[in-house]
């Protein structure tokens, strides 16, 4: 009998092309997603070497990062961003890559449109020049971010030179209580293991609380694997996965669907397979989480006090935490609840899907956002935007006083004009609270869509459970 294997090992084994002596394995890539920010230098490299894209039929593009979320009839105001988006569309056309350009009605965030169209499927290897590529791991795919040199490698050869990662089981048992979400699971994990805790690893999320999540919620969890240091994170496919995929444009049909389904069912980790590392989280004990500092590991339950840097184990970490609190302008010892905020951002590849928008709308319905707060709601794709409008969510947001914008990365990375002013505080459903991430001098509290919406209503950091009926 063969050795029991994890899903990570199974996908890896099935994609090794060759192991050249003295070099890492050549890993075959099933799907390569490209966007405007990390690809131009790679296409330029291909031109310099007179190379073609080897498999345009395994490549797909969309613009999202520097793409404005203002009405699409308007031209892109920033000439540098406009040139980048135009160059991206030109590159895709020249190299024969299918893509959603700036005005395409299906345009959206790269990690939203892949799953939405059924491009993302179990058992695949998926890469993108973006660290949140692990999002696609929600489908039981080995998906990870790469740099621009590797974007060029995959465009030219459909392969990467890659060493295997360690496996890291993240077991989440129990049941989430009302007001606690998938976002809180992943923020709690990162707070527990730290932002470097998963370095060199691929997470496999397991346990009853993970099984109970919808595909959109699973994407939220996998999305932030990189914030725990892991380049990839995945969840074995199950009926929830298959139901989500059935009927999507690129999902297999008819006989091919049955074949694919039989294959997908072989993917989950075998009984008795060993992981290099393991950690356990009890979902029943979780509260809504919020970050207080300048990396996603600086997270606490919303009712807990901000930790004192003096309690840090070593001098460099003490200094790092002091620097973070100084940047954030907050004192240790008190909870964040009640602190005034200037902006609430609901969006990003972490939390911009229908489930997220519905959650936010459930709190905003019949309420007004605080007059002191600018609230941006940015759907992850134009398709989601249309669906939300069909459900009337846009009216709920607008009537509450929030902005309802076009799809894109928006204020998560603040490259497209949507940004905080220096000193401003935001409750944000995005994935990074690094200094200046949402605009130079801006200060970010990461939280779930429920916490963000609750804070929008009150104008201060708010535990959503206080507003839930």
């Amino acid at each position: 009998m063969s050795q029991p294997r994890t899903i990570i090992q199974k996908i890896w084994d099935a994609h090794v092309v060759t192991r050249p002596p003295g070099a890492p394995a050549l890993l075959y890539i099933d799907l390569h997603l490209v966007h405007e920010v990390t690809s131009p230098q790679a296409f330029e490299g291909l031109r310099r070497r007179r190379l073609k894209v080897r498999r345009p039929d395994k490549t797909f593009g969309t613009c999202d990062h520097s793409t404005p979320t203002a009405p699409r009839e308007l031209p892109i105001a920033d000439p540098v961003a406009r040139a980048q988006v135009e160059q991206f569309e030109k590159n895709c056309r020249e190299f024969g890559i299918p893509f959603f350009g700036f005005r395409n009605p299906r345009q959206g965030i790269v990690h939203v449109i892949g799953p939405e169209h059924g491009l993302t499927q179990p058992g695949m290897t998926i890469v993108c020049g973006d660290s949140h590529t692990a999002t696609h791991g929600a489908f039981g795919a080995l998906a990870f971010g790469i740099g621009t040199s590797q974007v060029e490698h995959v465009l030219a050869t459909q392969c990467l030179l890659q060493a295997p990662s360690q496996s890291f089981a993240v077991r989440v048992d129990g049941r989430l209580r009302p007001g606690v979400t998938a976002k809180d699971i992943i923020l709690a994990l990162i707070a527990k293991i730290g932002v470097g805790g998963g370095t060199g690893c691929v997470f496999e999320y397991t346990g009853a609380a993970i099984r109970a999540l919808s595909m959109e919620e699973r994407m939220t969890v996998c999305n932030m694997s990189i914030e725990g240091g892991a380049r990839a994170g995945l969840i074995a496919p199950d009926d929830t996965t298959f139901e989500f995929l059935a009927g999507r444009p690129f999902a297999p049909k008819g006989e091919a669907w049955e074949e694919a389904l039989a294959f997908w069912k072989t993917l989950p980790t075998d009984a008795g397979a060993a992981y290099d590392r393991e950690v356990a989280i009890d979902a029943s004990a979780l509260e809504p989480m919020i970050t207080y500092g300048t990396n996603p590991g600086m997270g606490i339950p919303i009712s807990a006090p901000v930790p004192d840097p003096a309690e840090a184990p070593d001098a460099v970490e003490r200094e790092t935490r002091r620097k973070a609190l100084a940047y954030m302008g907050i004192e240790p010892g008190k909870p964040l609840a009640g602190r005034p905020v200037n902006v609430v951002f609901i969006g990003s590849c972490t939390n911009s899907r229908m489930t997220d928008l519905r959650a936010a709308a459930s709190l905003l319905k019949g309420r007004k956002v605080s007059p002191n707060v600018r609230v941006l709601v940015v759907p992850g794709s134009q398709s989601i935007k249309r669906q939300a409008e069909a459900e009337g969510l846009d009216r709920i947001f607008r009537e509450a006083g929030a902005e309802w914008r076009e799809a894109g990365c928006s204020m998560c990375i603040a490259m497209n004009g949507d940004q905080l002013a220096p000193g401003e505080y935001a409750v944000s459903t995005s994935n990074r609270n690094f200094e200046g991430r949402q605009g130079k001098g801006g200060r970010t509290f990461l939280a779930s869509p429920l916490t963000a919406a609750a804070s929008a209503v009150t104008g201060v950091v708010t535990d959503p459970r206080t507003l839930l009926g």
Partner: protein
Amino acid sequence: MEKFTPFESWVAVLPVDNIDTDQIIPARFLKTTSKEGLGDQLFYDWRYDAAGNPRPDFVLNRPPGNRAQVLLAGDNFGCGSSREHAPWALTQFGFRAVISTSFADIFKGNALKNALLPVVVPAEIHARLLQMLGADPLATVRVDLASQTLTLPDGTAVEFPVEGFAKTCLLEGVDELGFLLKHEAEIAAFEQACRAPVDTLSVKLDG
């Protein structure tokens, strides 16, 4: 790629843990379609004030940090975004090596592809080097990739790990894409043998 040769250098000291790539090069500078001109934007928001003037107290704005080829940083250097603009900015500024107790995965890979050597040292060596440079900011270290040794200002030689293939590429200036392209026949054979899960050209989407 140029061959990576041994060198001796001053050290720029930035003892902060978890320095993310948004600090190394803020996202607003990523709208470029070129690799050039990023050295001036390295650590921009730490290096310049609101008016765009260099902050005199920032390590890269004063000797020897402004001429150092080695950066000494805290744990988990390069975490966050996958942007290769981070090593591009570091090398264009003049850095050839970064010393830390650990590096984020994607950054490490990107650095090695751009002749920027990530030097991992144990915490106690890191603390000692920090102390030595505190006592004498003009002290130098020597980096020798072939022997995988970092020589501290007091002459102590410390061995550091480097993955074998990356080392060969750096020392001999091997072009990784060129190496991959030589495996064309094996890639084609793999494609023949294995099922293709998705064909992105197979569906013509409206709009």
